[in-house]
């Protein structure tokens, strides 16, 4: 896992031991998406189709699919619902690139068109967004909300 950041983008890379076809489905199939993100997902995987993911019962991520080129690439818009959101639904863009890598996949995720630190600060949003941050971090730390916290993914706490 490696990550880099530029002024208005975040980029994260990961190598996955599954082929691009398998990985791609995790961005378009609601049952698969909630295995790695959120509690419920509403996905209409075609250009202009909705992508809505209830992250933790409080924070809802929302956007639209822009481009789908299975199993190599997909682009969707992204933001958080709610008045306090710094990143409004549809206001930023996520590009996912899946390149075959041996019998696995090299995944690059680039989240761009983020509001700049200055504009967020200027609009007084600088502080508000960590409502999002903290509540999401809390979810990430809660194994009950997400079944994939251990490599075998099964039989954890009960």
């Amino acid at each position: 896992m490696a990550s880099t950041e530029t002024a208005t983008a975040v980029e994260v890379e990961v190598r996955i031991g599954a082929n691009p076809e398998t990985v791609f489905d995790f961005f378009t199939d609601p049952d698969k998406m909630i295995q790695w993100m959120g509690r419920a997902a509403e996905l209409d995987p075609r250009p202009g189709g909705v992508l809505r993911c209830d992250i933790n019962g409080r924070n809802v991520a929302s956007g639209e699919y822009v481009e789908l080129d299975p199993p190599r690439r997909l682009v969707f818009t992204w933001g958080w619902e709610g008045e306090d959101s710094v990143t409004k639904p549809g206001s930023s863009k996520v590009e996912v690139l899946l390149a075959p890598d041996g019998d696995g996949t090299h995944l690059r995720l680039i989240h761009r068109d983020l509001p700049s630190a200055e504009s967020a600060e200027r609009h007084g949003h600088g502080w508000r967004h960590y409502t999002e941050r903290l509540s999401l971090a809390a979810t990430g730390a809660d194994p009950g909300a997400d079944p994939w916290t251990s490599p075998d993914g099964a039989g954890d706490k009960s």
Binding site: E5, V10, V12, A18, W36, Y130, T131
Partner: protein, 123 residues
Amino acid sequence: MDRVARAIAEPRRREILALVRDSELSAGDIAAGFDISRPAISQHLAVLREAGLLSERREGTRRYYRAEPQALGGLRDFLNEFWTDRLERLKLAAELEQQRRNKRGKHRDSNRGRGGGSDRGKP
């Protein structure tokens, strides 16, 4: 969580956090920057401290405050953490799914009587 949301909903408390973002200040220093009563400032400081956004250090009778690091993360830090964590989960889920698919593939192959190691599967 609600405690944090409430704590930062008040503009003065956000200003206080901004003041102690990079440097530790005494309650008196903080109060000097506002035109509200000292008890009101103390109240704000207590709310921020209870929300875990502010740490307090006592030295004699003086109290010093500093913003907690987790209160200061920027949007990019947050998203970087968010996606890194999610993609780690995605990796585990996709790899399990791949194993399942491979197993199913093998079953299909052996039922059809072709593919690697298929002759063992069927009479």
